[in-house]
Subunit: 233 residues, 6 copies
Amino acid sequence: MAPALKEALLQVSSASAAGAMAKLGVRNVWIRGAMPMAGGGARTVGEAFTMRFLPAREDLVGPALAALPNSRAAVEAMEDGSIAVIETGGVTDAGVAGDVLCTRMARRGVTGLVTDGAVRDIAGIEQSGLPVWSRGTASPAPGNSLTFAGWGMPIACGGVTIFPGDVIIADRDGAVVIPQALVEHVAAEATEIERFDAWVVSKVEAGEALPGLYPPSAETRDRYARESRTESR
Amino acid sequence: MAPALKEALLQVSSASAAGAMAKLGVRNVWIRGAMPMAGGGARTVGEAFTMRFLPAREDLVGPALAALPNSRAAVEAMEDGSIAVIETGGVTDAGVAGDVLCTRMARRGVTGLVTDGAVRDIAGIEQSGLPVWSRGTASPAPGNSLTFAGWGMPIACGGVTIFPGDVIIADRDGAVVIPQALVEHVAAEATEIERFDAWVVSKVEAGEALPGLYPPSAETRDRYARESRTESR
Amino acid sequence: MAPALKEALLQVSSASAAGAMAKLGVRNVWIRGAMPMAGGGARTVGEAFTMRFLPAREDLVGPALAALPNSRAAVEAMEDGSIAVIETGGVTDAGVAGDVLCTRMARRGVTGLVTDGAVRDIAGIEQSGLPVWSRGTASPAPGNSLTFAGWGMPIACGGVTIFPGDVIIADRDGAVVIPQALVEHVAAEATEIERFDAWVVSKVEAGEALPGLYPPSAETRDRYARESRTESR
Amino acid sequence: MAPALKEALLQVSSASAAGAMAKLGVRNVWIRGAMPMAGGGARTVGEAFTMRFLPAREDLVGPALAALPNSRAAVEAMEDGSIAVIETGGVTDAGVAGDVLCTRMARRGVTGLVTDGAVRDIAGIEQSGLPVWSRGTASPAPGNSLTFAGWGMPIACGGVTIFPGDVIIADRDGAVVIPQALVEHVAAEATEIERFDAWVVSKVEAGEALPGLYPPSAETRDRYARESRTESR
Amino acid sequence: MAPALKEALLQVSSASAAGAMAKLGVRNVWIRGAMPMAGGGARTVGEAFTMRFLPAREDLVGPALAALPNSRAAVEAMEDGSIAVIETGGVTDAGVAGDVLCTRMARRGVTGLVTDGAVRDIAGIEQSGLPVWSRGTASPAPGNSLTFAGWGMPIACGGVTIFPGDVIIADRDGAVVIPQALVEHVAAEATEIERFDAWVVSKVEAGEALPGLYPPSAETRDRYARESRTESR
Amino acid sequence: MAPALKEALLQVSSASAAGAMAKLGVRNVWIRGAMPMAGGGARTVGEAFTMRFLPAREDLVGPALAALPNSRAAVEAMEDGSIAVIETGGVTDAGVAGDVLCTRMARRGVTGLVTDGAVRDIAGIEQSGLPVWSRGTASPAPGNSLTFAGWGMPIACGGVTIFPGDVIIADRDGAVVIPQALVEHVAAEATEIERFDAWVVSKVEAGEALPGLYPPSAETRDRYARESRTESR
């Protein structure tokens, strides 16, 4: 992702990004259940590094388990500026990442972790500085109920499909995915939504009523065009 | 609602109000899922302004959608001191209100928003000053999964029936509805529950055991009557 | 529980305790839904004092109800240093304990309350100083939907079986049970897990990669043995 | 609804009707949870007569309850050939209709009952001959947990919005709503879907593979056009 | 239970029994999730023999497990004519009883099994002749996720509290509990409800409208009294 | 799978297979939610042909959709005697297969379809003769809420991990997976479980009590060994 594009997206909320996508008819983009768990929901933006966990199966131990991919190798494959997005199938009674993995991710320049499952050792995670969006915390390690299945494939996370390289914006409202092909369009459109939204709020704070103002009538559009021109001079 | 009545209710917790209603056999009054999301659960009291959302249906666009009532008009119909109570059927993957609507509600003197769904743009909502009780936040706008159906009708919110004009008390424990016909009785009874409760807690802090004290034996009742008489002199 | 054992357990996280039990094949130990509600998740350790609520049945009033055990008597049976663990069957629309009960528990030296249900009057509970792990708060009193069934029996809380005298560790990740017969072993093992974990995190912070380090290769084990020997001199 | 239109719809499955609407982008039409409970799922078609239940509130008794609309009056307002569609908010621990109401509905020419809740006295309902789609059966009467709120308004049933006069097709796969404005189009399109589907199945039974056949290539379309012309001669 | 009382209850539906209890304000009596799984829902009546399962804990094996009560001993304690009611906490991924236990129960004169969990080997259970109400079937044995905790205590089954000796009526609508102290009253009242209900249905079949008839006006009551007197001569 | 092995597995129930795996500590093998929907639960056995659906995303249309794998191609890759196992993430408001796909599967010698989602056009599926285990039926086609993601990868179906080539046994109790490496062992062990179970049931039918008999004491084991030797002569 070009730095300017990333910079632009860091200025727009996940709500505005969702709004920009809704205008294109792309609606199923909000990752259900992934809420700010570490980092206070300060906005992060990055390309999705996808990972998948499957339900634990008790025969997958020893050599059978060693033959499967593992989550530590996945972390070492993450690129600077990416966001780890982890599918669990909604399992919340084990934490898919703890202090060790999160510290290593932070060290590799990963800028966020988003999952429809839980994380563990939240105190340790906070010390790592890695911001996390999850469905909560849990004490047990993933092996209790999950088996790591691999990385870099399309996943379902919180009812949303995410392909590797799609872009994630996460903030206090949660996390949304922007399909790769739409990123530039969404960045531009969401920026404009933010700007118009701020203008509307300023009018409402000044006492104006909503009908005609929001959503805007033709007249309001003209007025906004005039006023925002003035402002940006 | 008379100012004195409102003032009295602001002094009692939602728990005491629920307790007062339980004594009348009215038990299904706590709005499941509506928890403090903005405003920190500082207590608010007001008459319910009811609103209803239905599931989105893709044919309801353009003129068909324009023919339906809309949420902006609803906001303009809200009265000073009322609390917006919004039924969503439990849909939490879209936010029924964002910064614009909440700023306008706050401007109109609305003293709270309670919903069994989600809100969006929580950072903007906090700036509006409107206190919110909801099941969380979500990035998408309501149109993603909900259609506004109208206001001023009886609704089901969080498993509880609310009629326009019923009274809402919301605080850190959540939000309860007081049926309009019971408000005066509940205010008086809950005030007494608060007073007795505080007296009991002071005794427990002083080291007394619970049996006989809470719930009170006849002897405890006498003692409480004596002591609270003394106190209020 | 011997003071030294309790002291040792206070130094280990619920995550490390769960990890120590997983090594024994004991995995179903994390109490689903019981999250920090009062006390900020500061760690507590104690022997479980079990209590059970059943669904309310409307014929259980008056003498029929008086013939059943009651929760106030239960509180008076709690011992100093114990943790109250309350089964509700997952009912969250009534609070199983409020300010009065929690104040009395704190007074009796109880060091925590853990439940798969809700608590009520959270503001009052915070004043009592009793730390609470629950599935949330609710305004109504338990009588609305629950009947107290007794104490001191094996219970199911959050999908986990707890016997009286089992040990509970609760912190920010939630609460886990340690079966009584395993407590000493788990304390020792979890202490070692904590120590190794801290060593690994220090290496990761210094820039080391995960493969070989975590989980440790034979070489890493040797290195850790060497370095931790040095450290403890 | 014109008799010929009804007749046409009786020849198409709810699956084909859903398929015809999906081609128009209208997708949220299948009433979740309403499955054949009486009548074996034999297909029925009719205009929706909407009814709504709200959660029971214990103060709504005596005169307060008598002042509300009631379900018996609703039944008397139903027209010959209509289908009763009942919103419960998903409450399944009380039956919204039993033998008396169903017998009367059948007598009035109602051709089906569809609900996202439960029905009661299923043996008596079967004797009435009224076909029912519901989420199951329950012994208790609605008063246990529901209050009747009225009829003839837009409702949410099983996650789908239904307006009075929309058309319902219910069969073994469940029940779908067809928005009133789309009924003629859907009837024609679904008829064609049925016809093409039957042709495809006949080819598959004869051993043809799917790629190119389904969904059809241009060549398959030509072939179908030719063969269906021949057939209908 | 006296034979005449049992005989009377076998003539009334679970719906009528629930209706009789609702008149007493006793509403939470229907066991959620327990639906006919073997025996086709043919009505059965008997005193509850309560059993409880807790979540499996992996340390409860060998001597620790042997020290706990077991379900085979429970079966040998069941009396002729009783109904086994089994609490599972809603666990449905293991079957609490299979062909061996059910065959033995049938042999001991047990007249039904009711559970909020699942059963296993449904084909074998059908051969045993024991009628079963459950939330489905599952292949795994209980040990997979449940531990037997004992019998003869108050239990929660499907959200309802059941004491040993309470009476169960189960039929096609599901299973309800009648508190022991209310059995005679409920039997008489439900019998009358059945009789009146049948009279109403006969009127509705003859073409009468509901208002005034059901629920009955004073006039309808008189008419019913007259006609039922005549009938019973 | 060797024909003799398949033949042996067709003689054992999914319950006995689950029992045999439980003895190895392999417990998470029952596919939650997949119940007999077509074919009446008559037993089927085969190697799993795995398929995965992801949540639908509205940008995946036209060329973007055409670039993804499709379910028709998957069907053409199925081998004679295999069982299609379809992951949906638990989505039940669209049917992953209908009459066309099922007819083609049956034609290709596929001996079952197992899914944690729904199927559509159940009447047409029954005519195809393909036995189906699913969480129900739904009218809409998969495109409404699901996107096909591919086949031949490890999947999670009903909370269970399934690798291509694992063996499925499905019957009236539901469907279990047998890990490929355990198939021979499980077939032998489950056969013995069936045999012993039948012997126990015959004793119970003859009036014997359970303690000592089931689970068997050493003495019972001897007796069974003696009697089953005699029988098999």
